[in-house]
Amino acid sequence: MIIEVKDLRKSYGAVTAVNGINFTVNEGDLFSFLGTNGAGKSTTISVLTTLLPKTSGTVIVGGYEPEREAEKIRGLIGIVFQDSVLDPILTVRENLEVRGSLYGLRGLKLKSAVENAVKLTDMGDYANRRFGKLSGGQRRRADIARALINMPKILFLDEPTTGLDPKTRRDIWKLIRELQRTNGMTVFLTTHYMEEAAESDSISVIYKGEIKASGTPLELKTQYCTDILKLTLNSGEYIEQKLNKTIDALPIIAKHEGDIANIEIINGTLDDVFLNLTKIESE
């Protein structure tokens, strides 16, 4: 396991943002950390990335504890923040050179790291343009390039595609998956888009500072949502039936065999999982 979180608590005075959460992330996995706004996602990321001290609990990132070995963790991680942190007045390349120098890179090593990040994110010519002049999608690529400057073992992506158009989102997502597959990076993702989380190896859902569920997308869908069978018979009768498992549709279809005008099976999605988990709590 590359990330281990046990009974993590983080309070700001009387307000508890994260209340005893537990989860693990395997090396090389794409892990999605889902939650509503204010659920505790950003606080958790801030603790994992050494930006905030924890109140209590155990946190291990890449084999190191954030409070005692922050510098070692910082050398292992790359972060794409929710809001861009690069300097608009500098070119992408200049931004990357500055950030590379923070990792002790100099001369040829720095140049090579910059070129590698530019190549991996396929930025081409616009690496020489000022960051502030780029489109939303290009900026996001530049942000990712910045996070890759030290070729991190763990890449934290805090809502990386929020505010982007569907095509750009798809392109960015393709890039992230490629990076994860080809470089064996562990990706820690927070997102509001459930279709992105559906591609994860594992997911944890946080709500009001507590983990509500963890597992693979399939496990969560099996446990927290149902499929729906919709049948229209020749007589015009309409049947809608919730299914615990998709296979449960077979006996119902068999019962009406020869009398069916239309069949539709709607699979449960992670949207349903997320809504069900947060709805239970709201109710």
Partner: protein, 283 residues
């Protein structure tokens, strides 16, 4: 590389460069248009005689103060990056292995470099105008003393602004601070009104404000020669009183400050405020 980044951010922002020189340009313009003749006439009527040295004396006194003002306002422009970064890029730096001490030092060094460049530009403009009004061009020794004064003035101004900036977290608050300090600093240094014409309590405020010593040092290099020429035939007591009135020297009881005393005040203040800033930033 961080120093280079801070310099690029400042010098590529044409508005920032322009506004850091604005105070000097406005006063220069006002002085050329009408303030100069008014002040010259006032001095002439106060002295009870006319001399072709009066324009140079008046210009050298006013512009010496102005150069000292420039050394603090240019630091304000340069240190705006630290506040902008707190809102955006700072978390990016903090999650890298670079130490906060290294990051802090980069802000101090880059803002000092910017302060020096902008103050030297102001100095050249002011010396050129003083020469145009009949003043003497500084000789080699004076140039060395001007360099030392500029350096100490920038370091002192920079340390004070850096200390204040350590408590500021938003761009809005920084703008408000810059406006207030930028307006106040000219009065606190006794630039616009001869110190001798102010009430005793106000004179003490000016004498106790460390940056006033920067103005006094510039006056001792640029204006002392002009004053001596103007009062070549007058008793030394008259010249002594005028030096005090125009803030060329400060008296504390029986002690009259000289160039090296003022240099010591500036150097000690810089050391004190940088030390205090490091403690604040570390916390």
């Amino acid at each position: 590389m961080l120093i280079k980044r801070n310099l690029l951010i400042f010098f590529r922002d044409k508005a920032a460069v322009f506004f850091s020189l604005l105070a000097v340009l406005i006063i220069l313009l006002l002085y050329v248009l009408f303030l100069g003749s008014t002040m010259e006439e006032a001095l002439s009527s106060q002295l009870g005689f006319e001399s072709d040295k009066i324009p140079a004396v008046m210009a050298s006194i006013v512009f010496s103060g102005l150069i000292a003002v420039a050394s603090i306002t240019s630091s304000m422009g340069a240190l705006q990056t630290t506040v902008t970064d707190k809102e955006r890029a700072y978390k990016d730096f903090l999650t890298s292995p670079a130490s906060s001490g290294k990051i802090t030092l980069s802000y101090i060094l880059s803002s000092t470099i910017i302060g020096l460049i902008m103050t030297f530009i102001s100095l050249i403009l002011c010396v050129a105008y003083i020469a145009f009004r009949g003043g003497n061009l500084p000789g080699f020794t004076d140039c060395l003393l001007l360099f030392l004064t500029t350096l100490l003035s920038v370091l002192c101004g920079n340390s004070i602004v850096f200390f204040i900036t350590a408590f500021i977290k938003s761009g809005g608050a920084f703008t408000a601070m810059s406006t207030v300090l930028g307006t106040m600093v000219g009065f606190l240094m006794g630039v616009y009104i001869p110190i001798g014409q102010l009430p005793s309590s106000v004179q003490w405020v000016i004498k106790c404000f460390p940056m006033s010593h920067a103005a006094a040092m510039f006056k001792q290099v640029l204006a002392d020669g002009e004053l001596s020429e103007l009062f070549a035939n007058a008793p030394p007591q008259v010249l002594g009183e005028l030096r005090e009135t125009f803030g060329v020297v400060f008296t504390y009881g029986n002690y009259t400050s000289g160039f090296w005393f003022s240099a010591l005040v500036l150097g000690s203040t810089a050391a004190l405020f940088y030390g205090a800033s490091i403690l604040v930033v570390r916390d």
